[in-house]
Symmetry: C2
């Protein structure tokens, strides 16, 4: 089980956009050059964020991306779901119904598979933990370690 690398890119990009705030939209090429990432592929991730309503895109010159809402209203869960998709990691294929085990009483099939339930419980805990952390929380934590982080980003955005 492996999370897409695009998630890391997306979160860091959102951090940049959050710190830049209202200074104007940031184009993909700018974000890509900052972290030395392939611009077209990063653009793909940003499009996914756009479809999820996390960022808004402005076309044309002086265009780019900006956050669609305040960092306090964007959770880690939102970003992960936008990139990874809505499907959950464990997908029950109902093997209990297949093969020679398929002749079990039908009424048990009304109830969800116990194995799937156990996995779902764990995954729900994961989702809750992600949803409990907002982009603003990550910003605060980063600035606690490096107080000038926001200023650095804004200076980087202003020059050039």
């Amino acid at each position: 089980m492996r999370m897409s690398e695009g998630v890391e890119w997306a979160v860091h990009s959102c951090l940049i956009l959050a710190w830049v705030e209202d200074r104007g939209p940031v184009p993909t090429a700018r974000l890509a050059s900052r972290y030395d990432l392939p611009a077209p592929y990063l653009n793909k991730q940003l499009q996914a964020l756009g479809r999820a309503g996390i960022v808004t895109s402005i076309p044309g010159p002086k265009g780019g991306f900006r956050l669609a809402r305040r960092p306090e209203r964007i959770t880690m869960m939102d970003i992960v779901a936008a990139i990874e998709g809505p499907d959950e990691a464990f997908r029950c294929t109902e093997i209990r119904q297949r093969g020679s085990a398929g002749d079990i009483t039908m009424r048990a099939l009304r109830r969800p598979c116990s194995v799937a339930s156990a996995m779902r419980t764990a995954e729900l805990a994961w989702r809750r933990a992600l949803a409990a952390q907002t982009l603003a929380d990550v910003m605060t934590e980063t600035e606690r370690q490096l107080p000038e982080a926001g200023d650095r980003v804004r200076r980087w955005f202003d020059r050039s």
Copy 2:
């Protein structure tokens, strides 16, 4: 992000082995035919369980697999870790150090990346939730829905 299908197979196989208990080892072919799974690939998963110390293998005729310890001592986390490997889903590649963002103060790099920390927190919640559920718990829940589940497995094992 998608969990390997082998996890579902492994859990269901462990359930069979738990219900069979001391009646003797169950060969891969028997397990595979029960759920209509490709036997060689299921064998691969069982080998992984063996390396993790969850099941023990007995070679030769009348051989097969059996649980290495009681179901109360086997957690869902053990099985998932055995199949999926020890690596965590989110892998921080430290993009904050790359590109034009690489010129930040070194002391911030002593501390872990805030993004990675947030992800790690969530993943830890997932792992705790998995570790809190034992194989015995899943057995109990299954028998609550279908009380004769254990007897069915044992009868299936005895005949043929």
